[in-house]
């Protein structure tokens, strides 16, 4: 389904990141998954202190370094060089995952292949993938954080919906996702399924529903 004939403009990756960032309250402890979610850190409003956790034992991650302050000993879970913010702390992997698994993070933002209307998330393996399966810390993050938000394109490159009645790919966690940010909309997962919270300008509810496998409800 081509979006070019319609009058709305899907969000860019940075647009999605900015949309997520404005919903993160001051003072939250947040883990941003590898890939697009990492961009969220750059969009947190300047008047909020949001503490970013990286699974490899860094709490209080800062932005990418400039050439002047690059330190190859300081990397994030995506194995990119980063910086430490004032107030940061370092722990080992078991303590770092105690933060995650013990329910101490307010929020984790993950990418996903699919999210189901019951909150199931599939983000680590696809049936097409013949290389070795790789889960990393996604299963820990999905069950551990107080809030799990997903960031993803609303449909796949070939137009298949990613918001589904039931995940077709192997699950990362069951009934874990609370909210999904796509390039078209913000959708809550509720006991009654998907509830649309926000849409890009110019997009109609019916157009969004047409791009979604499961039934959507409108927020009041």
């Amino acid at each position: 389904m081509a979006d070019t004939a319609t009058s709305f403009k899907p969000l860019s990756r940075n647009g999605m990141a900015a949309r997520v960032a404005i919903d993160i309250p001051d003072g939250w402890y947040v883990n941003l998954g590898i890939g697009v979610p990492t961009l969220v850190a750059d969009h947190v409003p300047a008047d909020r202190e949001v503490v970013v956790h990286s699974e490899n034992g860094l709490l209080g991650m800062g932005p990418a370094p400039t050439p002047d302050n690059a330190d190859p000993w300081i990397i994030n879970a995506g194995k990119q060089m980063v910086t430490m913010r004032t107030g940061a702390s370092l722990v080992h992997h078991a303590d770092s995952f105690a933060m995650i698994r013990g329910g101490h993070l307010d929020l984790c933002v993950l990418g996903a292949y699919e999210v189901a209307e019951n909150g199931d998330i599939a983000n680590w393996a696809t049936s097409e993938n013949d290389s070795a399966p790789a889960v990393g810390g996604a299963m820990d993050l999905a069950v551990g954080a107080k809030n799990l938000w997903v960031m993803m394109e609303h449909v796949t490159k070939d137009g298949r919906p990613r918001l589904v009645e039931r995940c077709s790919y192997p699950l990362t966690a069951k009934a874990a996702v609370k909210r999904v940010y796509t390039n078209l909309a913000v959708i809550d997962i509720t006991p009654f399924g998907f509830v649309v919270r926000d849409m890009v300008a110019g997009l109609t509810f019916d157009e969004l529903q047409a791009r979604t496998d499961a039934k959507l409800a409108q927020s009041n």
């Binding site: 003072g27 503490v51 709490l59 430490m84 107030g87 702390s89 370092l90 995952f97 013990g102 101490h104």
Partner: protein, 227 residues
């Protein structure tokens, strides 16, 4: 901006309810959050379950005083001897007691902080403290199942703290304090010293601020010297 420091003991104690499970740091007279316990006494919550290594010492201070005032309905600890207030109430049947081996006590709270609801341990297997507990042979050895021990509140004594709640401890004042900080839903810290954010080296922070909810500056000096 994150600022976990509070200026008054009333703010520090806000919201502690009757019946709360309260984790109390310290071992011996070292690392005891006695100012916070005085605050809790003032605050008024009762019918508490207190978790600590001991059941207090003197009835005139700290946990011993909380017990002497009749605020503690149940004590969970490894070594309740040496606390006249506890022993008197225990003999009178007015306080309940759950004895937990010291290492199991620490591990149960670490488990609570780390999202482990239950774990197997060899400690106490085959003893009367294993009564009623699930038992399992693993690789030829007998283990019992112990469950996570969460606190509604954790009272912690630190040496230095900053406004994010990053903490260090002094010498053996560390003891149960970092473990309880992890296991408390509401973790309240009294700190001898306050540091500017960034003053504490990220490499030496023992309790990262995400485990801490409130910090109050209590520069009381040295603990009393035991014999």
């Amino acid at each position: 901006m994150i600022n976990k420091t509070v200026q008054t003991m009333a703010e520090a104690m806000n919201g502690i309810s009757d019946g709360a499970v309260v984790l109390v740091g310290g071992f011996g007279l070292v690392g005891q959050p006695n100012a916070l316990i005085d605050g809790l006494i003032e605050q008024g919550a009762g019918n508490l379950t207190a978790v600590a290594n001991n059941a207090g010492n003197s009835p005139d201070s700290g946990l011993g005083r909380l017990i002497a005032l009749g605020r503690v309905a149940k004590m969970i600890c490894s070594f309740p001897r040496g606390s006249p207030a506890f022993e008197e109430r225990y003999r009178a049947g007015t306080i309940a007691l759950e004895i937990v081996p010291q290492g199991t006590l620490a591990e149960r709270m670490r488990a609570a902080g780390a999202g482990v609801p239950a774990f197997f341990t060899a400690t106490a297997a085959g003893t009367k403290l294993a009564a009623g507990k699930e038992q399992r042979e693993i690789d030829g050895r007998t283990y019992i199942l112990e469950s996570a021990l969460h606190g509604d509140v954790a009272l912690v004594e630190a040496w230095r703290a900053d406004r994010w709640g990053n903490l260090t401890y002094r010498s053996t004042g560390r003891n149960f304090n970092p473990v309880m900080a992890m296991a408390g839903k509401l973790t309240i810290v009294q700190s001898q010293h306050m540091a500017e954010l960034g003053e504490i080296d990220p490499e030496v922070i023992v309790t990262p601020g995400l485990f801490v909810d409130r910090v109050i500056h209590v520069p009381y000096g040295d603990p009393p010297r035991e014999p």
